[in-house]
Symmetry: C2
Subunit: 386 residues, 2 copies
Amino acid sequence: MTSQASLVAEAPGSDDRIEVPAARLRAQLQAIFTAWGMPAALAETTARLMVAADLRGIDSHGIGMLPLYDELQRAGKLTMAPEIATLRESPVTALLDAGGGLGHDAGERAMRLAIDKCRASGLAAVAVRNSNHFGAAGLYALMAAEAGFIGLATSNVWKAAVVPTRGREPMFGTNPIAFAAPARRNPPFCLDMATSTVAIGKLRLAWLDGRELPEGWAIDDEGRPLRDPAEAMAQRLLTPLGGTAEMSSHKGYGLAAMVEILSALLSGARVAALGDARDPDPPRYNVGHFFAAIDPAAFRDPEAFRDEMDEFINALRASRPVEPESPVLVPGDPETAAEAERDAGGIPVSRKLAAMIREIAAACGVADLMESAGHPGGPRDGKEAP
Amino acid sequence: MTSQASLVAEAPGSDDRIEVPAARLRAQLQAIFTAWGMPAALAETTARLMVAADLRGIDSHGIGMLPLYDELQRAGKLTMAPEIATLRESPVTALLDAGGGLGHDAGERAMRLAIDKCRASGLAAVAVRNSNHFGAAGLYALMAAEAGFIGLATSNVWKAAVVPTRGREPMFGTNPIAFAAPARRNPPFCLDMATSTVAIGKLRLAWLDGRELPEGWAIDDEGRPLRDPAEAMAQRLLTPLGGTAEMSSHKGYGLAAMVEILSALLSGARVAALGDARDPDPPRYNVGHFFAAIDPAAFRDPEAFRDEMDEFINALRASRPVEPESPVLVPGDPETAAEAERDAGGIPVSRKLAAMIREIAAACGVADLMESAGHPGGPRDGKEAP
C-alpha cells in the first residue's frame, strides 16, 4: 500500500479532463467489476454508489478510488463474491460480516436493515465487520434521511494516517462521520466529514496548485508542521480536526477515536492503532462501519420536525455573511449544487484518471466505455480554467 | 443575560484561592438550592453533579456556574420544583419534559432511563425538552460506561455564541458532545467537548494571563479575528472547531448543527438559531438534551470488547510523543487525574468565586459552609504558582 498517495484521484483544477455522463461511468465500472468476478448485482451496487459520490462532488470517494481498489484486488485483498452474513441480530440491532468485499454493498444493506428496524421500533443500529472502503459515508446517512429518519454512518480505515495530539505516530485513518436529517422543502441536512483537518486529497490539490500548506494540516514524524505538499504526501501524517493543540486538536483526535470505537471496537473489526503494529499487511483489512437511524416520530410530531428543519436550514442560510457574495452554507449544500450540475453536464474526470481507468479496463479485457460516449468535454466553467 | 461573561468561574492561575473538600461544596450548594425552594432530592442531585464536574477538573461546568444559576433564578427563569413528565415512550425511546428546572436531575433521569431500556433491548435513546443547563455532558455519558454501555450525551444552549463558517452572526451555543465507552482495567474512555474551538472560559484565562488570543478562537461582528481577550469576551463570538475556513471550521459548524438537531429539533426544545430572533428573553429557555446508550453485547462478546478497549487505550498512551515528558493522552485522562487529586486535596475555588458563593448564600439566608471547614488552602502545586 506504499503507493496510495499517488493513487488519489486528480482534483479538477486544469482543463485537461473530460466530462462523462454518470450512466457511462456506471457502465464502465460495472463492466470492470464484473470482469473482476463480482456478481452482477454487487457490481451494479458498487458502481452506482461510487458514481453517486462523484455526482455529489465528492471526487475523493468515487471513481477516483478505482486505482486503489484495483491495487487491492490485484493483491488479493478483496473478496469478489462475498457472502454477507448476519452474526447477531435483535429487533433494534445487528452485526453483519461483509465477507471481505468492498464496503458499498454491505454499507447499503446495513443501513437498509437499520432503516427497516427503525421503522418498526423508532431506533436502530447496525455494525459491520470484515469490510473494506465503502465510499462516501454521507450516502448511507442520506438513505435514512430519505426514509424520513435521522441517519448516522461512520467507518474506520485500515491504514492509520492521523496523529493524536502530542503524538508523532499515526493511530487512526481519516475516520469519517456522516449525519443526515430530513427537511420538507429543503434537501436533507447532510454533514459528511473526515475527522482529520483535511483529507489526503487536499494535500494533492495544494501540490497541483503549487501552494504551501497552511500550518496545521500535516506534520512530519517529529511532530513539526509540514508546509511542503509533496513532502506531506510522502509522509502521510495528518492532524486531527483542530490542527494544533492550541486550536483544540484533542477534540478532532477524540472524535477520530469515537469513530474507531463505534466502527471497529464495537463490531470486532481491525483496530488501526492495534492492527498496524501486529500485522501491517494482513490478508484481509477487516474494516468496520457503524450505522444508526432515529425516527423523529418516536419523539415528536414528525411533520413538525421536518418543518422546523426547514426553518433551521433557512435561518442558517439567511444568517449574515462576512462577504455578501459568499453566503453561509448548510452541510449538504455544496453536494446538492454539484449534483444538479453534474446530473446535467456529466462528471469531470481528469485525463490522467481516465487513462488509469482505461488501463484497468484493458487489463481485465473490458472495452473503454467512457470516451466512446462521444463526450470529449472541456473546462466545466470559466472559474476553474487556469 | 448580559453579564454572563463576567460570571464564568475564575480559572485557577493564581494562589488567591482556597481548597474546599467536595463534601463541603456539596453541602453548601445543597443548602442554597433548598433555600431557593428546591425539593431535597433535587437539591442533592444538582449539587452532586455540579461538584462531580469540579472533581473531574471541569471547573467551567461545576460550582462556577452558581452565579449564573442565581441570575437565572432571580430572573424567574428556573422552576424550582419541576415535574419531570414522560411525553412519549417506547421500549427503546422516550421524550421527557424537564419541567423548566435546572438540567442535572432531568439529565440523570434521562440517561438512567436510556440505560434501563438499553439493558433490556441493547440500544436506547432519550430526548429531553424544557430543560436548562445540565452541567458537564461527560457525566451522563459516563453513567452509561459505568453500566457497561457506550454512552452519548449532547445538549444545545439557549444563547448562541458560535458563528457558522462564512458568517458573522452567532447561531449556536457551544453545543457539547460527550461520548464514553467502558474498558476493563482503565477508566472509561470519555470524550467531553464543546463543538466550538474553545469555550468562553478559555478567553477569560487568556485575559487573566495577559495573553493575546491565537488567531481563530474568536471573531468580531465583521468576521475578523479578535486577538484581544477582553474584546473577545465582550463580543462573545466564538469559532466552530477548526477555527478558520482554511482549517475546516465547516466541520465544527456541522457538528454544532448536528448537536442542535439531536438536542433541540428532535426534542422540540428551543432552537437557538430561531429562538434568538423570535424572543431573545423568553420566560423559559427550553433547553434540549439527547442521550443514547449502546450495549456492546448486542454486537459482540462484551468482555472481548472491554479487553480490546484496554488494548486500544494502552496503545494510544504508548504511542510516540513529540515531547517524551508530555505523553499522548486518551480522552478522560485529564479528568481522571484531576479527580484523584481533588478527591484527596479538595477543589480549588478562587477567592473571587468563593466570595460570590458566599454572597449568594447570604442572600438566601444560608450559612457559609465552605470556609467553616477550616481548609484555607493555597497553591495546589508549585507549577501553578505565578
